[in-house]
């Protein structure tokens, strides 16, 4: 067993290791030495050994055998051992470990220690990793410390009490008698009660802002921004839904908003909190205008952080102060082009919220441009946002269809599943645009079949309105001259491509079948394609192919009937699921009935 080295030496050796294996070797040797030392009852360098173990733990190696040593060191009487023992407890023990309960007694003793530094160690550990049971046991001690001790311990005890109340909310009442505010059951009653404290808080805040330059609390010219932010947050909670409290703080908020210098982050932080407070309480309109102006100023700031937080806050008020935020639409849309992904995300959210009937066309242009260049994690959100906006504010049906097609071409892989049936429904409803739509979709299909949702919609459309495509005349768009062979080629490409999903293949096969009633020359070709797929491996496809084959052979007289225009959208998925439970003939009958119903709806 090699003699154990001191902590710094060990760190040096580990860092000097050239390979992962070498490092592992060194650490295993050290851990073995440490374990042996732990087992010895008395050991001079206990704290050093634990420190070494904690370093090893931070590198990611297992260190659970040190837990009992932590417990032992915490119980020691030497301050140096206690210090590292508590650190070890915070790093190695968490409330899920059973060993954490063992230190409860030591913490209890240390909370009544004569030295305030030992007390502070215990308080820190409790606040960091105290489980619910430990908190329950030690709550009376904390209460005592809150009442009795000096300010150093008092502030730690207060924060420890906050942790306890977070873990066990019922104990909140315990900390209230003896010079603490009472927690009452009803929210409104409680906050009404607390509103008496508002004047006092306002006074403290005024003192902070106007007078008293204290160098140790000062950050970049702002006196104690941490405290200012905390007080403002408290005022925000107190002023929410409370007119009296909000009135009492109006002046102060105006003063802070106008006087705080925001050239450095500290000042901006205070201003930011002020703006959030103004927005949340029942403030008067002048104050709200001031707040929105501050946010507008932030939006034009060069610092990305400031722009980010201004957009976050504008998001919160965009519903209530819509017109005020609309004024900054230009800057927000510019932020869509920013390099930073966080800023882009905020700008996207805000832009989607700012879309209205008046600005839909220009906003959509920007949003579509954004969609083509946006990072992948934002794509699906952007696509669904665009769809919602298009649905609500589309100026015309043709614009709506165009927009959806554009999205499908750019980000078809990231749209939700309902997009396909929704789009189909939309197309069916826009009866005067059938010709335009089918031409456009055909063009999209022959150029690229990667985007599955686009492929599915295109197949469906070609199947339904194939005759319009073949007719070759269209008002809204210069038509391509398309022959029946071209169309069937396109659909067969989809069927055979390895990029097509089973759903897309299903769509393509149904489309081919439907075309058998729309075209005149190539029915034999369709018949052969359908019979080939009768032995396809994919069950769904095979099912369909066999059905259609049967339609050709036995029920040819019903073929036109069943493959006619559908004006009601079927739930495609539902039908195919049902097909697994019935045999073919029953299914075909159902299929026919299905279409019969359709036919009757379309009359």
């Amino acid at each position: 067993m090699s003699p154990s080295v001191c902590l710094q030496e060990m760190i040096r050796v580990i860092r000097g290791a050239r390979t992962q294996g070498e490092e592992r070797g060194v650490i295993q040797r050290e851990c073995a030495a440490i374990r042996a030392q732990f087992r010895q009852a008395d050991s001079g360098g206990r704290s050093h050994n634990l420190a070494k173990l904690l370093y090893v733990h931070m590198l990611g190696y297992p260190a659970h055998f040190g837990q009992m040593e932590c417990v032992r060191l915490i119980a020691s009487s030497k301050y140096s051992e206690k210090r590292i023992g508590y650190l070890g407890a915070m790093m190695l023990l968490d409330e899920k470990q059973d060993a954490s309960l063992l230190i409860t007694n030591s913490i209890k003793n240390d909370l009544s220690h004569s030295s305030q530094h030992v007390q502070s160690l215990a308080l820190c550990t409790l606040a960091c990793m105290g489980s619910a049971e430990m908190c329950r046991d030690l709550a009376p001690e904390i209460e005592r410390l809150l009442k009795a001790s000096n300010s150093y311990i008092k502030k730690k005890a207060a924060l420890c009490a906050v942790h306890i109340v977070r873990k066990i909310p019922e104990l909140g009442e315990m900390f209230t008698p003896s010079s603490f505010l009472i927690v009452l059951n009803s929210d409104t009653l409680y906050l009404h009660y607390l509103s008496h404290s508002v004047p006092e808080l306002v006074q403290i805040m005024k003192n902070l802002v106007t007078s008293g330059y204290s160098p140790e609390h000062n950050v970049a010219g702002i006196s104690d921004p941490f405290l200012q932010v905390r007080i403002l947050r408290l005022l925000r909670i107190l002023g929410r839904n409370n007119d009296a409290a909000s009135d009492a703080m109006n002046d102060l908020l105006a003063q802070v908003a106008t006087n705080t210098d925001s050239s450095k982050t500290a000042g901006s932080a205070v201003l930011y909190e002020t703006v959030l407070t103004i927005m949340d309480i029942r403030s008067e309109s002048g104050l709200r205008v001031l707040a929105v102006n501050i946010l507008g100023r932030f939006l034009l700031n060069n610092d990305r952080n400031i722009r980010y937080i201004s957009m976050t806050s504008l998001q919160k008020i965009v519903q209530t102060d819509h017109t005020a935020v609309q004024r900054h639409r230009g800057t927000i849309v510019d932020c869509l082009k920013d390099q930073d992904a966080s800023v882009k995300r905020r700008a996207l959210e805000l832009s989607l919220a700012l879309v209205s009937a008046a600005n839909i066309r220009s906003m959509m242009k920007e949003l579509l441009l954004f969609l083509s260049t946006c990072p992948p994690e934002l794509r699906s959100h952007a696509a669904s946002g665009i769809f919602n906006a298009a649905e609500r504010y589309a100026p015309s049906q043709r614009w709506h269809i165009d927009t959806i097609l554009h999205v499908l071409v750019t980000a078809g892989g990231d749209v939700r599943d309902e997009t396909v049936p929704n789009l189909i429904q939309l197309i069916t409803a826009a009866s005067e645009l059938h010709c335009y739509t089918v031409h456009k979709l055909y063009r999209a299909l022959i150029s690229d079949i990667v985007q599955q949702s686009l492929v599915q919609v295109a197949c469906w459309c070609i199947g339904e309105y194939g005759d319009l495509l073949l007719k070759g005349e269209c008002e809204e768009i210069t038509p391509m001259q398309v022959t029946e062979d071209d169309v069937l080629d396109a659909l067969e490409t989809v069927l055979q491509s390895h990029m097509s999903t089973p759903t897309s293949r299903g769509f393509a096969l149904t489309a081919i079948m439907k075309l058998s009633t729309r075209i005149t020359n190539n029915v034999d070709r369709i018949r052969s394609v359908v019979s080939i797929y009768g032995s396809c491996i994919d069950v769904e496809l095979q099912q369909r192919a066999v059905e259609y084959n049967a339609l050709f052979k036995k029920y040819d007289h019903m073929r036109y009937f069943t493959m006619s225009y559908c004006t009601v959208i079927l739930e495609f998925g539902c039908r195919s699921r049902l097909s697994l439970y019935f045999n073919i003939h029953d299914l075909l009958l159902m299929h026919i009935l299905d279409n019969l119903l359709l036919f009757s709806y379309s009359q």
């Binding site: 502030k155 603490f180 505010l181 902070l208 932080a269 930011y272 909190e273």
Partner: protein, 213 residues
């Protein structure tokens, strides 16, 4: 609006406002304690409603540009494997950021606030509703404390004296909240604790010298 036992409440409130004055604390200390005590009550109230108002830091990570962890402090209860997984994810995310980007990242339901100082990334996770700018200031204050303590701190100082970095952090932040906003007071407390530690360790070496272990 009805009062429940109002004379008693008024008495207690009066007591509590005297309490600060009795101790002759200066304005800053008093207000700090005041905020803490009100916060306790508020946490209790809010935890009874839809969500617990957790306005503390969830965790803080320090790591190098190569992704090696130099300090990790967790203020929420998680298992070791969860901690490892979260650290890995967050480190990867932060290291992927380019230099001029903003310091805030959205991850799960938390906000990650990070800043790079020389070769170390300082990274905090706070709740979604937090003031991110003040978290940046907290990080900066911690760096200033380290700087004052070590004298022009560099990454090696934190590697070789990691336990001291933890002690300083624990003196500045307790349970995820900043406990003391005065640099002087924090550093003084650490100085005193260090002296205590030296005193505790010194007798040992003397005894060893004489030959008694």
């Amino acid at each position: 609006m009805e009062w429940v036992g109002s004379p008693k409440i008024n008495q207690l409130w009066w007591d509590s406002s005297l309490w600060g004055r009795e101790l002759k604390l200066n304005t800053c200390e008093r207000s700090h304690l005041y905020c803490a005590r009100v916060k306790i009550s508020l946490t209790a109230v809010y935890s009874g409603t839809v969500r617990t108002y957790q306005d503390n830091m969830q965790f803080m990570l320090l790591f190098s540009r190569q992704g090696k962890l130099r300090l990790q402090k967790w203020y929420v209860a998680l298992s070791d494997t969860q901690k490892k997984k979260i650290s890995r994810e967050v480190i990867q995310m932060v290291l992927a950021r380019k230099p001029k980007m903003c310091s805030f990242l959205e991850w799960r339901d938390l906000k990650i606030v990070y800043k790079r100082y020389a070769s170390l990334y300082f990274c905090c996770a706070v709740e979604d509703q937090e003031n991110e700018l003040i978290t940046l200031e907290i990080i900066h204050r911690y760096v200033e404390l380290l700087d004052k303590y070590f004298g022009s701190v560099c990454e090696l100082d934190i590697i070789f004296n990691f336990e001291k970095a933890y002690y300083i952090l624990d003196e500045f932040i307790l349970g995820g909240e900043a406990q003391e906003t005065s640099k002087k007071i924090v550093l003084k407390a650490i100085e005193q604790a260090d002296m205590l530690q030296e005193e505790a360790e010194a007798p040992r070496s003397v005894l060893e010298e004489i030959g008694l272990t």
